[in-house]
């Protein structure tokens, strides 16, 4: 027996057949979107940086919910795995380890306020200019950028994979290379071999035998032994 049959539309007239589902989807959208906006606001409003990161995580998580509503479940899961599960953990890790002096942090607030306001005004003006110059009409698909419809019976993941690894393979590989470079750069900058430090070598430890590390010395009374 199938335990959970998924949503089954009512068998009555067509008008109410599809009625409840959009309502739930809309409610879910406003729930997720509302939490994302609130959490994002709290990221910049909360005084404790650790709380900021926690709000950021909440925002990520609900953004994943929005992806699910769009039908992009693979992206939603990857968002949670990569951003919530790895990036934000390291974020939290660093913020927790830092010894933050809140008084010193807030000391320069008034000093930097004019610069901040100027920057905000600049961004706002730019946004308005963009609004004025171009129109936000629907993008007309041409042959080059027409969406490729997935083959029948393909899941979200397969469709994404078969696009990324064929049409966009160079861009995808280039993105991977950029990340690899950043990773190697971080290791090169922080990894240093100091002379004179004794490091543990598991292979050498396991290869050690009693014959190499012990020796028998006959000590005459009252003289000690030179090692």
């Amino acid at each position: 027996m199938l335990l959970h049959g998924g949503w089954v539309p009512p068998r009555a007239e067509p008008s109410i057949r599809t009625a409840p589902r959009p309502v739930i989807t809309t409610l879910a959208f406003y729930l997720f979107a509302g939490i994302v906006v609130t959490a994002a606001t709290m990221v910049i409003l909360s005084r404790n940086p650790v709380h900021s990161v926690l709000w950021l995580i909440l925002a990520f998580f609900n953004a994943a919910g929005l992806f699910v509503l769009l039908g992009a479940e693979f992206l939603a899961m990857i968002l949670v795995i990569v951003y919530v599960g790895a990036v934000a953990v390291l974020f939290l890790f660093v913020v927790m380890m830092l010894d933050i002096d809140f008084a010193a942090l807030r000391a320069g607030f008034v000093k930097y306020l004019p610069a901040g306001i100027a920057l905000a005004v600049l961004l706002l003006v730019e946004l308005l200019l963009v609004q004025g110059v171009s129109s936000f009409g629907p993008v007309t698909p041409t042959a080059a950028n027409a969406p490729v419809s997935a083959a029948a019976g393909m899941t979200n993941t397969q469709a994404l994979g078969s696009l990324i690894y064929t049409r966009y393979v160079y861009i995808f590989q280039a993105a991977g290379m950029v990340l690899l470079t950043a990773m190697i750069g971080a290791i090169v900058l922080t990894h240093r071999q100091r002379p004179g430090t004794r490091r543990q070598d598991i292979g050498m430890q396991n290869a050690r035998t009693p014959a190499q590390s012990t020796s028998k010395v006959r000590v005459t009374s009252g003289e000690g032994v030179e090692l």
Binding site: M1, G5, W7, V8, M77, T155, R167, Q200
Partner: protein, 356 residues
């Protein structure tokens, strides 16, 4: 006719769906909680037997009610919130651990079709949930505002993130064979997959090393011995949960064991063939798949307890070395080997693809 449809017929499409789903959630969550209680008992009994002790044997027949007595004692204790604690985060942390441990069970198939949410990205969902499990621990460690919990939280954050990477690669190997993220599909792909009559990826010589690696990573991911450094009682008293008492502590405890059972279930789904019997032989299918699945989960749990009773705790730097310098390169190499072999043998030729 499914369960939810039956409810929809009686209560109307909207409420029937809602109440049917709600009851299904309870039908999974409550047995998981009872299972956790029995698992704690089984853990203590197995551990005791291996050390030639009797273990719990006073409360109820064979001491089987010991866990329930412990839980009752915990619930009657006073909830203490340290004055220096960050109250909100302190209280949310155990709830996160507990909730995440429970919601992951939604996608576990107990038999053919016997699954709450048959997601087509079920495995990724599980991976996402288990990667979020670290927050309960790290938040409790930080919010307690105390040295031992903080160190425990930091340790566990680093540990869980490290071993997640290799778990991810092992999952990729299995997914390549099944060509699906759906857990039911992964189980069905294992039907007679080795030599035509063995069910289970673990019998596949290419995937056997990955099964071992997955099991060890699962131990690290659930903070089980020999990787229980976040709560190493000899060094950190009890790690991240030092400051917790009463219900909050109980939530951590239940969440931890629910996670262990979940990892056992996941191992059975990925490598032991889920609800299928180990050999593809008709008389074995007389036993319902549900019992095979339960038996496999219990077997995995026994191995978890076995490891706990026999292996000494790792040192922290060796734990990190194992994760990053041994498991990560090995599993990465294995993804390349497995995908190379599958392309070579034409495993993917029948899959639908986009022609550009």
């Amino acid at each position: 006719m499914s369960w939810t449809e039956a409810f929809q017929d009686v209560l109307g499409p909207g409420w029937g769906y809602f109440i049917g789903t709600l009851l299904l959630i309870l039908l999974i969550a409550l047995p998981v909680m009872v299972g956790v209680a029995l698992a704690v008992y089984a853990d203590r009994k197995i551990w005791a037997s291996m050390q030639l002790r009797r273990g719990p044997n006073v409360v109820g027949p064979f001491g089987i009610l010991q866990t329930f007595a412990d839980a009752l004692k915990l619930f009657l204790k006073e909830t203490i919130i340290p004055s220096g604690a960050n109250k909100g985060v302190f209280l949310i942390a155990p709830m996160i651990t507990f909730t995440l441990a429970l919601i992951a069970w939604a996608v576990i198939p107990f038999d053919a079709g016997l699954v709450l949410a048959d997601l087509n990205v079920g495995l990724l969902y599980l991976f996402a949930i288990s990667s979020m499990g670290v927050y309960g621990i790290i938040m409790s460690g930080w919010a307690s505002n105390s040295k031992y919990p903080f160190l425990g939280g930091l340790r566990s954050a680093a540990q869980m993130v490290s071993y997640e990477v290799s778990i991810g690669f092992v999952i990729v190997c299995v997914v390549l064979y099944a060509a699906s993220f759906n857990l039911s599909d992964i189980v069905l792909a294992q039907k007679g997959n080795v030599l035509g009559f063995l069910n289970g990826n673990i019998f596949n010589p290419l995937l056997f090393p990955m099964a071992i690696l997955f099991f060890i990573s699962a131990l690290a991911e659930t903070n089980r011995p020999p990787f229980d450094l976040p709560e190493a009682e000899a060094e950190l008293v009890a790690g991240y949960q030092v400051e917790y008492s009463s219900m909050a502590f109980a939530l951590f405890f239940l969440g931890e064991y629910a996670n262990i059972l979940l990892m056992c279930a996941l191992t059975s789904v990925l490598f032991l063939g889920g609800w299928l019997p180990p050999v593809d032989w008709a008389p074995l299918y007389v036993i319902p798949g549900f019992f095979w699945m339960m038996g496999k989960i219990f077997f995995m749990f026994f191995v978890f307890a076995w490891v706990k009773a026999t292996v000494p705790r790792y040192r922290y730097d060796q734990l990190m070395r194992l994760g990053w310098k041994v498991f990560l390169p090995l599993s990465l190499l294995w993804v390349v080997i497995v995908s190379g072999w599958l392309v070579f043998t034409g495993h993917f030729d029948t899959l639908p693809g986009v022609s550009i």
